[in-house]
């Protein structure tokens, strides 16, 4: 492991100017549960770590039914699942967050880091996508927003330009009769990276039998977490029944373009994309029916 410099940034401006100055040599440190391991194992290199935890804005977690949820990039996962109102409003996100590491890791790991790390198998990203989450990005040219589904560009690569970093994730408030869920497949019951992950969200009509709109997103079946747009489109206006679920699951499966690696085969992943979409969609519908 190489030595590196460490700077505790106290403002967004300071972090941006350091990032701009040092370019590829600099990396943002949030919880560090991915980054420090990668540096130790020689899988990433950095001569400067910019710790953003001292910046007040990136530590803010706020939620209101009117404006939705804002998650500062350095907010540990544990804070999210610890608040009943957030658990209620964003069930798919909470499913995913609860899977990221054990108790100690959840006290340190952040959603911002999980997203910026841009793993194709990241548990939180498909869930963020089906909740319509948006990235709040700071950079030399000021602030910009980007939908989460457009944030990851390749395994381990994201859409941030030199000098930019993720300040917060904004998740809009859910409409009425909304439900969401995330499911992943792992060979054990813990301590694994998703072989396939699937998230679904639906908004039902008042009677709870027709889907007004919805989204399906998949993890670990493409170079980036995937918004299955055709599958989502196929949900709109359809009765929430077994036939629809089967069809949508097949459409989602079609969107999956997995590889074979030591965690699973391409054929297995393709098959699981179908099974998990079916199961997660069923789950999201159940939840939508039980919310007001």
């Amino acid at each position: 492991m190489q030595a590196f410099e460490y700077v505790a940034a106290t403002s967004v401006t300071q972090a941006v100017s350091l990032l701009k100055e040092r370019g590829e040599q600099a990396r943002v440190l949030s919880g560090g549960t991915d980054l420090l391991v990668q540096l130790k194992e020689g899988r990433r290199y950095a001569s400067l770590l910019i710790d953003i935890k001292p910046i007040p804005e990136v530590n803010e977690l706020s939620y209101s039914p009117e404006t939705g949820l804002r998650i500062g990039a350095a907010v540990p996962c544990f804070h999210l699942s610890n608040q009943a109102a957030i658990r209620q409003a964003y069930p798919g996100l909470i499913d995913a967050v609860a899977l990221i590491g054990g108790v100690q890791i959840q006290g340190r790991a952040t959603l911002g880091g999980n997203l910026s790390n841009a793993s194709p198998a990241a548990d939180s990203i498909p869930a963020l996508i089906v909740h319509h989450a948006v990235c709040d990005i700071a950079g030399p040219a000021g602030r910009r927003e980007l939908a989460v589904e457009r944030f990851c560009t390749a395994p381990g690569k994201n859409a941030l330009d030199v000098g930019e970093f993720l300040v917060a994730i904004r998740v809009p408030p859910p409409p009425a009769h909304f439900g969401a869920a995330y499911l992943r497949f792992i060979p054990r019951n813990e301590m694994d990276i998703a072989v396939v992950g699937a998230a679904a969200s639906v908004t039902l009509n008042k009677q709870g039998d027709i889907i007004l709109s919805g989204r399906i997103a998949l993890g670990a079946v493409a170079p980036t977490p995937l918004l299955a747009e055709e599958a989502g489109a196929a949900l709109a206006g359809r009765p929430a029944d077994a036939e629809m679920i089967e069809q949508v699951a097949r459409i989602a499966q079609h969107a999956a373009r997995p590889i074979t690696d030591m965690r699973g085969t391409a054929a297995q992943r393709k098959h699981l994309a179908y099974v998990l979409t079916r199961r997660v969609l069923e789950h999201a519908i159940e939840r939508a029916r039980t919310t007001t």
Binding site: R188, M191, I245, M262, R263, G264, A267, Q268, V275
Partner: protein, 766 residues
């Protein structure tokens, strides 16, 4: 002799069979125990190893000059710094080791033979500096064709790992070079005739992947090669004396120059019977000007470059008559030895049909080198692979005959006087008793719901099944030495040389306490270095509670005899007249306790000390019978274990909690092996899953509480009837799980691990 317990009068024990707190418990739970990586010496340097990125390549050159020039680097070594030992065989655990292979495995000479093979090593003032220095070593390789699969390696046109390797073909040395190091055959009766006459014959081929022991503590070694030529070694080992000899041979120094201190050990399971880092640390120490050097592997190194157990290909054919008697069995077994000969295939051949009485048998066993790490011992080495194959076939035979699978095993079960397929005749064994205990267990008669609905509630996707399987291990005795000395307060210091990997400090001290007639708490056991106690065979082969226990029993008897003499002296009677009962000595109305005698020892002739060494040539064969309930999600291929019961003939459980722990631990590892553990290589032989993230041992959430049934059929070869218990329980799980998967889904799995991807494939879902 026959019947129940022949070796001792029907006993009522005071200590044996109780569950005292282990002497090493407090230090372990408070973190005070000193493990190898906790050793700190003044001026200590840190060593790191440069490992081969190729699975098979010729080393053309190594340039270490840039690494040597880095400030803080104190020594750099390569294979050239070491003498080249002869092809000489030495003891290693229950088996043997070729010292030249071992030396070349510790550090490559002309060729690297597997991904991760050590090529050079550096000692520097900090671990990070040593790591950075490795990047400055330039190695020029000429990559060679790679062979990873055991069957491909056996082909005559396969790439050769060792140009000088010839097959030992049933005692004859073959002429052509080959990757097949050895072929052994065990044969009895006429299998062809018996198969032709059998009412039912089942034949299948099974494959298993290379798997690792997964001990939590990585290999480590701290060595000071002093200026006077004395070498001190601290390391994590099951075999202090064997490893001392290995280091001596690899360094070409007299064995007496080396003192090896076994540190506390964080798991071994057979994986710590031979050296990896110690000779490198020694050579670095010498080259760095006699500074101590510490080397600790990381997890990736442990997985890539220590000794896992063999992957294998096993073909089993068994036939039975109409009455359900097994009439013939045949096995063809080929095991991957890794880069150097020495797979546990012969042990596998001993295990494969061991529980059964079979008149006609043929077993062919092949030891085959491939470009993977040199196989080490792993808990019942070779046994799990073998029983997975035979127990699957037996299950199928029972099914075809319409006989309950446990009933079928009991019907064909081996008893005292029966001859094992690979030769020896059994003395008193408890296979039948273990199988009957499983049969009588409430688990076996509990109803099992056939399936439950999947989370959508629409498909009966989750199927349940129950499976059973049996297993066997040899359980040798070996050689042990120990000392015991009486303290003035009547307690006993026990000095032993068997590293404690499974609660043996307690189980050995308990046997001394029982034998002498003192309380367990009055015996203070210590495991010491190789200069401070006589020779001990390795802690391996489930031998310590049995073999070292024998010595503890004899020490107790010897101390007791001396105490009788002291009492006789006090009372002016002959020692034979003195009676002893539970630590109380008496004669003609005189009574004196051990404590009182101890207090008087300096008035009655001085210190009371006993030393002893003993070799038990007996084995204590152990049999286990397991029952598992599980469910298979037929849409994802995932298996969840619901209930598990392990019944085993344990001879005599000295400390039942630790015996139960051994059974549970063996089952946990066996389930991991059955379901998810495997070495995943790419086509070029790079290990892809060298971490505990992707080498998937079971977590606490993957296993139910494992029930145990301790069946006690005393071993006639031991004063308390002890049989080794640690290895048998890893033998049945893979077969039991495979049989349960079949009964759940109707599909026979013939490849380990039975991972979700493989199950989906077998179910025709992908």
């Amino acid at each position: 002799m026959s019947g129940e317990n022949q070796s001792v009068e029907q006993p009522t024990y005071r200590v044996v069979g109780t569950r005292p707190i282990r002497p090493d418990g407090v230090d372990k739970v408070t973190g005070r125990a000193i493990f190898g990586a906790d050793v700190r010496l003044s001026g200590m340097l840190y060593g790191r190893v440069l490992r081969s990125p190729h699975a098979h390549a010729r080393i053309k050159s190594i340039d270490t000059s840039a690494a040597e020039a880095l400030p803080g680097v104190k020594a750099v070594i390569t294979g050239r710094d070491f003498p080249d030992p002869q092809n000489k065989v030495a003891a290693s655990g229950e088996g043997t080791v070729n010292l030249r292979s071992l030396a070349h495995n510790c550090i490559a000479r002309d060729k690297v033979l597997y991904f991760g093979h050590a090529v050079a090593a550096v000692a520097a003032t900090t671990p990070n500096l040593a790591e950075e220095a490795l990047k400055l070593i330039r190695v020029e390789y000429e990559p060679l064709p790679v062979v990873l699969d055991v069957l491909e390696a056996m082909r005559p046109d396969a790439p050769l790992l060792h140009e000088d390797l010839r097959t030992n073909e049933m005692g004859q040395r073959s002429e052509r070079p080959s990757n097949v190091a050895n072929h052994t055959r065990h044969e009895r009766g006429d299998v062809e005739k018996a198969f032709a006459e059998a009412a039912v014959v089942v034949e299948r081929e099974f494959r298993t992947s290379m798997v690792h022991q997964g001990y939590i503590e990585p290999q480590n070694g701290t060595v000071l090669w002093n200026a006077d030529g004395q070498i001190s070694v601290w390391c994590s080992t099951q075999a202090p004396f064997d490893e001392r000899s290995q280091i001596a041979e690899i360094l070409d120094v007299p064995v007496s120059k080396i003192k090896l201190t076994p540190a506390e050990i964080g798991g071994g399971f057979g994986g710590k019977l031979s050296v990896y880092l110690e000779p490198l640390a020694a050579m670095l120490s010498k080259k760095a000007g006699h500074k101590p050097v510490q080397m600790v592997m990381n997890r990736a190194e442990v997985l890539a470059a220590t000794g896992p157990t063999s992957g294998s290909c096993i073909r089993v054919k068994m036939g039975a008559d109409r009455n359900g008697c097994i009439v013939a069995a045949q096995a063809w077994m080929a095991y991957e030895a890794g880069a150097f000969p020495g797979s546990p295939v012969d042990a596998g051949a001993g295990v494969i049909f061991a529980p059964y009485r079979i008149p006609n048998v043929r077993i062919d066993a092949y030891d085959v080198v491939v470009n993977k790490p040199r196989a080490g011992a792993y808990r019942a080495p070779g046994g799990t692979n073998a029983a997975f194959a035979s127990e699957s076939v037996i299950d199928e035979l029972a099914e075809q005959l319409g006989i309950d699978p446990l009933e079928f095993r009991i019907l064909n079960g081996a008893k005292e006087g029966d001859r094992r397929a690979d030769g020896p005749v059994y003395r008193r064994i408890g296979f039948i008793e273990a199988a009957q205990a499983a049969q009588a267990h409430p688990h076996y008669s509990a109803p099992l719901a056939p399936s439950r609905l999947d989370p959508t509630g629409k498909n009966p996707a989750i199927k349940r099944g129950r499976g059973v399987a049996a297993g066997f291990w040899f359980n040798w005795g070996g050689k042990s030495s120990a000392w015991a000395s009486l303290n003035p307060d009547g307690t006993v210091s026990l000095i032993e040389g068997s590293p404690d990997i499974g609660g043996s400090r307690a189980s050995i001290a308990m046997q001394l306490a029982e034998s002498l007639g003192v309380r367990f708490e009055d015996v203070k056991p210590a495991v010491v270095d190789t200069d401070s106690v006589g020779y001990n065979d390795a802690t391996g082969g489930s031998r310590v509670t049995f073999g070292t226990g024998w010595v503890a029993y004899r020490l107790g008897q010897k101390l007791k005899q001396q105490l009788k003499e002291r009492a006789a002296l006090l009372w002016d009677v002959s020692p034979e007249q003195v009676q002893v009962e539970a630590g109380m000595f008496s004669c003609n109305g005189h009574r004196i306790t051990i404590q009182e005698l101890a207090a008087k020892m300096h008035e009655t002739g001085g210190p009371i000390v006993a030393g002893d060494t003993f070799e038990s040539e007996e084995y204590g064969p152990g049999f286990g019978v397991h029952i598992v309930d599980l469910e298979v999600d037929t849409e994802t291929g995932k298996v969840q274990i619901l209930r598990y019961t392990a019944a085993q003939d344990v001879g005599r459980a000295i400390h039942p909690s630790y015996v139960e722990g051994q059974l549970q631990g063996g089952v946990a590892q066996g389930i991991g092996w059955a379901l998810n553990e495997e070495y995943v290589y790419d086509a070029d032989g790079h290990l892809l899953n060298a971490s505990f993230l992707d080498y998937r041992i079971p977590t606490a959430l993957d296993l139910p509480m494992i029930d145990t049934v301790l069946v006690e059929v005393p071993n006639p070869g031991h004063p308390y009837g002890v049989r080794g218990v640690g290895e048998t329980p890893i033998v049945p799980p893979a077969g039991a799980v495979a049989n349960a998967i079949y009964h759940a889904t109707g599909v026979r799995m013939t490849t380990l691990p039975m991972s979700p991807a493989r199950i989906l494939e077998a179910l025709g879902k992908v």
